[in-house]
């Protein structure tokens, strides 16, 4: 019988460095705290980006494309309601996908990732191992994490170890 990890069957957990992402942190003004989520959801619909809750007054907005453009769009749409911080360089996006994606993440993340509790579209600020990260579920068996840039190589190595038994074979990445 062959199983993932013996090289004969395809990997059931895959890691990918997601390059070309524009990432902004949206800090809501005190008065706008309650409505900013709604505004972002609407904007996300219009512009095709994903808004991920990151705290009572903050959201990560992730899009593909130019960092500057996303920041400008948000700036314009949310002026007076929020401050926008471009984090396209501050955060590194890593994708984890496959049947064993959840099993891989369970090795570092304490959240219950059962689809009943953490659905596609859900996001959370939490820890992976010893590093604070932002987690989002982007599909039934697909997740994305945002990790502060300085930690990215370390986190990548940890993820690669966690996924090894599921047949994942990746090279170290260089991020600086």
């Amino acid at each position: 019988m062959s199983e993932p990890g013996d090289g004969a069957s395809p990997a059931t957990a895959r890691l990918a460095l997601l390059e070309g992402r524009a990432i902004c942190l949206v800090l809501a003004a005190a008065a706008a705290r309650d409505e900013i989520g709604m505004r972002l959801t609407t904007l996300a619909g219009q512009h095709g980006f994903s808004a991920r809750w990151a705290g009572v007054d903050r959201w990560f907005v992730v899009a593909t494309g130019e960092p500057g453009r996303l920041a400008a769009t948000l700036q314009e749409a949310l002026a007076g309601h929020a401050s926008i911080l471009d984090q396209s360089d501050g955060q590194v996006a890593i994708g984890i996908a496959g049947d064993s994606a959840r099993a891989t993440l369970a090795k570092g993340i304490a959240l219950d990732l059962h689809p009943e509790n953490f659905k596609p579209g859900d996001a959370a600020a939490t820890r992976l191992g010893h590093v604070a990260i932002q987690l989002a579920r982007t599909g039934a068996d697909a997740f994305e994490i945002l990790v502060p840039r300085s930690y990215a190589m370390s986190v990548w190595e940890s993820l690669a170890e966690m996924a090894a038994e599921f047949g994942c074979e990746v090279q170290p990445i260089a991020i600086d």
């Binding site: 705290g55 304490a110 959240l111 219950d112 939490t126 604070a132």
Partner: protein, 95 residues
């Protein structure tokens, strides 16, 4: 305790995500009221330290970054309530 803490914003999270500051009871003397040195000393240094019900500041450092007040029992480690500290400070939630 407190292997798990139910953050009012993030849901149930392991203790490792939090940093603990301690007693939430002492209130910082207001600037505009002349506070005696005793009051300041009490605020900064003295603690009720009860065996039993206790309110403590916990910071959800690896989550929503909110300061929470965790009400718990220091003898049994039962957790009674976890609320946002700012809501308390602003009088939006009863302490």
């Amino acid at each position: 305790m407190a292997s798990l803490i139910a953050c009012p914003h993030c849901g149930i999270r392991p203790k490792e995500e939090f940093a603990i500051r301690g007693d939430a009871a002492p209130v910082r003397p207001a600037a505009d009221v002349p506070a005696s040195d005793d009051r300041w000393n009490a605020y900064v240094h003295l603690r009720g330290n009860p065996m039993g019900r206790h309110r403590e500041f916990w910071h959800h450092a690896a989550g929503c970054r909110r300061w929470l007040i965790v009400e718990r029992d220091t003898a049994t480690h039962a957790v009674f309530a976890v609320i946002d500290a700012q809501d308390v400070a602003l009088g939006r939630t009863a302490p």
